[in-house]
Symmetry: C2
Subunit: 337 residues, 2 copies
DNA sequence: TTGTAGGCGTTATCAT
DNA sequence: ATGATAACGCCTACAA
């Protein structure tokens, strides 16, 4: 069943059917109705491959991330998807690609999309293209939106990690706490980028404002952001400074829960003796005892914003390079005195 | 840049280039090398839309689920994706579709795939097509694999919920526990299907074998599978029978953690006074105190198996209807006496 | 072993 | 307002 078949059944030519399908050019109301009836009756859907080849473009928005499986990532996707329905654009045409953390796949996917003209715009989460690719995309007129990444001359949406860490730490200093440990991710890792360092910057800034000297001994680095690591890191922090009265776990809530668990095992009361703040606001954080005070990243919104930008850029409505910085928000619960 | 350009640069015709690209027909090693060099040099990728239209088929496997965002779903996807790389087939050609829980979208997606000839096979998770659609797909030669669903004449991969619940309950009766509460999801809900009832069946079977009479009072139904609901359900169970000595929370680990939390608040010791078993084996389950004994669904493996079946079916290697039943596994931790 | 010619299903251009 | 014709980029009988 193709448009020619429909045309024959409706007693017109395929050109007319195409016009009806795309609401383009002049068609009499009557022919339109007639054609539409045949289309409905035969449950006809035009071939996307054919339209694509004919239009010479993708008709979809590509979403590239390292994987699909994290809370964070899937929430971003949800935000983007919802926005597509909200805008009534590219509905169900958000195509997901996963690089599985490999450079090879990343390159292949980017090339496939570019040369196959698969997408009208590309959103990349935690994944950065190399310079050459950026140029090639620019030349092909396919805009790129970086989510949680930043490159010169490329649109981006990023969390203001400095601000988030600053808010959290200020909240602690505001409570009169002075010996505040920081647990953060490794710096200098390609996959996570400048995030850990930015969070340390925010932490330092808040300390400075409160007139507290920065103490390298109160910083602990973590690799896998796990519960177990959180326990360990807290132990180390404590062994270096018994007077510790708070921990800002910039390495995430799971890690922060590890901290709390370790405190429990050492019979240290949270928040009585030690206050703890996490980062991410995962679902569990509100259900755990004590409920975790944490920094909420506007993950869902970021997905939506990135999608909006992608559509705008695809339709040529985004002139200059846009770098959106979204502010996270402190969620106050029970784990701070 | 298309195959004709490549052909010109290599001093052959586009037919030869096509042969090289597809490794089909006779080509001299020399021409092949020559053409491949030009392809590499120009970083050429053939248009997928064009191949598709010319081959008349999808060249991808469609994966339809209600959403992308759950632990369970993304793990299944991971399993399928990994398998695609393992098999070296349909690599990066697993296309994700989300119905967002709506019937309209489900129908539209299924129609788009069918009429657009987008996929060579379709895997559906938590989503069931209607009879007419099944027929239409059969006629079009596009196989369907149901994941966690079952229909007459359709391939499927499902968890053996009866067996999982049986194992869990048997483990409890084996410990000499007699008053075993069951918390399960609502029955008769289209989206979750027969799962809650199957788990109740397994529970009953184990009781029967242990010579314990089934007591309707010890069954509690839950709607959203949440932490909060778990707390509530446990409270109700306890109010109906003070002698309760175990709970099998077939409604999932999050719910089971609610049960444990409620017990903690009521100063009831787990596992000292009440034993608890969950279902799902989410990440948190091993990290919580006491670590949760639970039933692990082989989620990842299911994705892989479904993908294998999809490829086999797409390549005509799956004769009869295959209904794969995968057995879950009891993970023993600390929450049972 | 390689080339020629036609077809896949759509959209776009230019007549009518 | 509608139709005839070409074009998109690829694949594939069939011919050479």
């Amino acid at each position: 069943m193709n448009i020619r078949d429909i045309a024959r059944l409706a007693g017109v030519t395929h050109t007319t059917v195409s016009r009806v399908l795309n609401n383009k050019g002049y068609i009499s109301e009557e022919t339109k109705r007639k054609v539409l009836r045949v289309i409905k009756a035969n449950d006809f859907y035009p071939s996307e491959a054919a339209r694509r080849i004919s239009l010479g473009m993708g008709e979809e928005i590509a979403f590239i991330s390292t994987k699909y499986a994290s809370q964070f990532i899937s929430r971003v996707i949800e935000g983007a998807e919802d926005k597509s329905y909200g805008m009534g654009k590219y509905e169900n045409k958000l195509t997901l690609y996963s690089t599985r953390g490999t450079q090879d796949l990343k390159k292949e996917i980017l090339m496939r999309i570019l040369h196959g003209k698969l997408a009208d715009a590309v959103i990349m989460l935690f994944v950065e293209p190399d310079r050459a690719t950026v140029l090639a995309y620019k030349k092909a007129g396919i805009p790129i939106i970086l989510l949680e990444g930043k490159m010169k001359g490329v649109h981006s949406v990023t969390v203001d990690n400095i601000s988030g860490a600053y808010e959290a730490t200020s909240f602690l200093t505001g409570k009169g706490l002075k010996k505040i440990g920081l647990i953060r991710g490794e710096t200098g890792v390609e996959e996570v980028g400048p995030t850990p360092m930015d969070r340390e910057k925010g932490y330092k800034k808040a300390l400075l404002e409160a007139g507290i000297a920065f103490d390298r001994n109160l910083v602990e680095e973590v690799k896998s952001y796990s519960f177990e690591e959180g326990k360990l890191a807290f132990g180390k922090l404590l062994s270096r400074d018994k007077a510790l009265d708070a921990v800002f776990c910039a390495a995430g809530d799971i890690c922060a829960m590890g901290v709390i668990e370790q405190a429990r095992e050492l019979k240290i009361k949270v928040p009585g003796e030690i206050s703890v703040i996490g980062f991410d606001n995962i679902i569990m954080s509100s259900q755990v005892k004590p409920a975790l005070t944490t920094v909420r990243q506007p993950v869902y919104e970021m997905g939506g914003r990135a999608f909006e930008m992608a559509v705008d850029a695809a339709e040529g409505r985004l002139g200059n390079v846009v770098n959106l910085l979204v502010k996270p928000q402190l969620i106050v619960r029970e784990s701070v005195k």
